[in-house]
């Protein structure tokens, strides 16, 4: 056990045995046998892993499986396995080409892209501003960004309905200032959707951006200026590359949920268009067509995974740490 022992009180240290006991590992300074180590890991990580297996992995596999079945007259599942649902998604329905579902997909992706671009345009300067505040104001600034996030999504969205209503003071103000013509309401419409989405997703963009801006090495920016870059070039070549991990992380965090978001576009856009979210709800709810609903889910998931994979490959090729 002990490798060194004092013989007597004051004598020299005599090394008795250099043999290391088997089954003992030292991790972060703590000695543990392998068995104890295993039990401890199982007790701490086990419940989480089990939860993920039962409530995420298995249902997900079930969804994938169901997506290859067909719907019976009463909403029950029928074999054989078929690709019919996916063909319908791509527009090849029983009555020839139908652009409904491809359009839903494109519309949802467009909504995600629109929200992401809005969040970048507003979030980049905002995160930059907060990161450059004196240290004692930074927490306050971040809190202000997060506060809307603490309010329930529906309440926030209804509040915008009232604020942007055709006879509301914001609408009248915009009309008086000549920003919109008198008969065009701010709500419902694209503007209201943009406001609502921005309100919902801005924190997801600002927080990762802020984290990467905090770490900017200003020496590198000064080096760029010293080498002849003006403000614009220094931003592009010295600031942006350093902020990029945050920009990518924020874009992923905004784009993915924004693509599936349908409450805000419904409530603020006038409920005129179908999006991925309400298409899925429709299939699992009123239509009772679980196989087709599952196919939509799987297709959306595949899109997300493909997007993340491309982004990861891109980041790896650039030699930067992968975004979460």
């Amino acid at each position: 056990m002990s490798v060194a022992r004092r013989a007597g009180g004051t004598g020299p240290i005599i090394v008795q045995s250099m043999q290391r006991e088997r089954n003992i590992e030292v991790q972060y300074g703590e000695r543990l046998t392998r068995g104890a180590h295993f039990i401890r890991s199982a007790l701490t990580s086990g419940p989480g892993l089990l939860w993920m297996q039962v409530f995420l992995l298995i249902p997900l596999l079930a969804i994938v499986f169901i997506s290859f079945l067909t719907r019976g007259a009463y909403g029950e599942f029928h074999r054989p396995l078929t690709l019919e649902n996916y063909a319908r998604l791509l527009g090849f329905g029983p009555f020839g080409f139908d652009s409904l579902y491809p359009a839903i997909f494109l519309r949802s992706l467009a909504l995600g892209a629109f929200t992401t671009v809005l969040c970048v345009l507003i979030g980049l300067p905002l995160a930059f501003f907060i990161a450059n505040l004196p240290p004692r104001y930074k927490t306050g600034g971040l809190t202000l960004v997060v506060i809307p996030f603490w309010t329930n999504l529906l309440i926030r969205t209804y509040a915008w309905q009232i604020l942007l209503a055709p006879q509301g003071w914001l609408s009248r103000l915009a009309a008086t200032l000549g920003l919109v013509s008198t008969d065009t309401p701010l709500y419902p419409g694209l503007f209201a959707v943009g406001v609502g989405m921005l309100c919902d997703f801005l924190p997801f963009m600002v927080l990762p951006l802020y984290a990467s801006m905090e770490k900017i090495d200003w020496n590198i920016v000064e080096a760029a200026m010293d080498l002849g870059a003006d403000h614009r070039q220094a931003f592009r070549h010295a600031v942006l590359p350093q902020v990029r991990p945050g920009l990518v992380a924020g874009s992923v965090l905004v784009f993915l949920p924004a693509t599936g978001q349908f409450v805000i576009p419904d409530l603020l856009g006038g409920a005129k268009t179908a999006l991925l979210g309400n298409a899925i709800q429709q299939q699992f709810g009123p239509s009772r067509d679980w196989p087709f609903g599952s196919a939509i889910v799987v297709a959306a998931l595949a899109l997300v995974i493909a997007g993340l994979w491309i982004q990861a490959r891109f980041a790896a090729a650039k030699g930067e740490p992968l975004a979460p």
């Binding site: 090495d217 020496n219 590198i220 000064e222 080096a223 760029a224 200026m225 010293d226 080498l227 002849g228 870059a229 003006d230 070039q233 220094a234 070549h237 010295a238 590359p241 350093q242 650039k318 030699g319 930067e320």
Partner: protein, 379 residues
């Protein structure tokens, strides 16, 4: 009227380049404050064209601030900066004809070595064939030709240093500003790069302004050194002048090691002054210079340890008795820590012969402080 106006501008035009011929950088009463602290207090300085000029001082003395003001990364609160005879007060950093080698290197982490070095030329819209050629040439000069495709994270400290240097000199600046460029390297590499930097400066003929807190570095490389303390230039001169004839206590102590002795002036005989110091009466020939302090009856003296002569039997003028308290052997030389009455003295002897001379701890020796080794100080 018109004629006189013309001649006036001509005169101005001809006088400007004349100034530019001799001086690369001129600072005139430059002051920079950070809150209550004056980082630079009314610094005036003239750096000659093609010179290797060092700013030497302890950390916080304002040397980096001075460099940043020249680079345009900071602005003076008062005073003027001229580069090549042109006042650059309104010229932003990216249009100044100077480049900087940063202490932390500040290489672009997302760019490979080649692109790092090409950055300045790309900003100036140099054609890509010219860029390729100039970058290759510079990479050969600093001996990193094989590293073109590496990222900065794949380089060692010395290699990063070379890339930072190449990235600056490829732009052929009028003045190269170096902010403690060797500070993060180990001693051996530092010594090697000191020699290389010095040779490079001679070869390129670019004016180097070199900030360092390492006195060896400044002494071995520079044509002239400005020693700074508390935002002021304490003394400016060639290395041997600063070392052999420091004018002030700070310079004497900062550059190398020295014994400080001081005391009342007992008598004056022409230029020779007798001073009652802590170790005894010392005679020193002040020559033409006569510090104001002598008028007040007090004179501070400094003597370098290697100028002190140990002589076991010594007696006579400027000779005092001291006891050896400790010896420190460091290879080429041995230091003797002496005590003369209450006053400590340091002496340093080259180990010219193998084995130690017969000087042992506890022994009494005669210490001769030669008059020409005694440096009168102004404060």
């Amino acid at each position: 009227m018109q004629v006189t106006k013309n001649s006036g501008t001509d005169a101005a035009a001809t006088s400007e380049p004349k100034k530019a011929d001799s001086s690369a950088i001129e600072l005139e009463s430059v002051t920079r404050r950070f809150g209550q602290v004056e980082a630079l207090s009314c610094v005036s300085l003239c750096i000659n064209r093609g010179e290797f000029f060092s700013l030497l001082g302890p950390s916080g003395c304002g040397k980096t601030t001075l460099l940043r003001i020249v680079a345009g990364l900071d602005l003076p609160d008062e005073g003027a900066v001229r580069i090549g005879g042109v006042n650059v007060h309104d010229v932003p950093a990216h249009r100044r004809p100077v480049n900087t080698v940063f202490q932390s290197y500040a290489l672009f982490p997302h760019l490979v070595v080649f692109d790092n070095i090409a950055f300045g030329l790309r900003m100036k819209k140099v054609s890509s064939s010219a860029i390729a050629e100039r970058v290759k040439r510079v990479m050969a000069v600093v001996e990193i030709a094989s590293l073109a495709d590496r990222k900065p994270s794949q380089l060692s400290g010395g290699q990063k240093q070379r890339v930072a240097l190449a990235r600056a000199i490829v732009n052929e600046p009028q003045v190269l500003l170096l902010d403690e460029p060797l500070g993060a390297l180990d001693l051996k590499l530092r010594k090697q790069l000191q020699v290389e930097l010095h040779q490079l400066q001679r070869r390129l003929g670019i004016t180097f302004v070199y900030v360092t807190h390492d006195q060896d570095e400044a002494l071995t490389m520079s044509d002239r050194i400005a020693i700074m303390n508390h935002g002021r230039i304490e003394q400016l001169g060639a290395p041997e002048e600063l070392y052999e004839r420091p004018r002030r206590r700070f310079v004497a102590q900062f550059l190398g090691s020295c014994n400080l002795l001081g005391g009342a002036v007992k008598s004056r005989d022409g230029s020779v002054v007798s001073v009652q110091t802590g170790v005894g009466v010392l005679k020193v020939d002040l020559g033409a210079q006569m510090p104001d302090a002598v008028q007040r009856g007090y004179l501070a003296l400094a003597i370098r340890p290697e100028k002190v002569v140990l002589d076991p039997a010594g007696a006579g003028i400027n000779c005092v008795r001291a006891r050896i308290e400790a010896t420190v052997y460091s290879g080429a030389e041995t230091q003797y820590l002496l005590r003369c009455g209450e006053h400590p003295l340091k002496a340093c002897l080259m180990n010219a012969t193998a084995g130690r001379p017969g000087l042992r701890v506890g022994q009494e020796v005669g210490v001769y402080l030669p008059p020409d080794g005694l440096i009168p100080l102004e404060d």
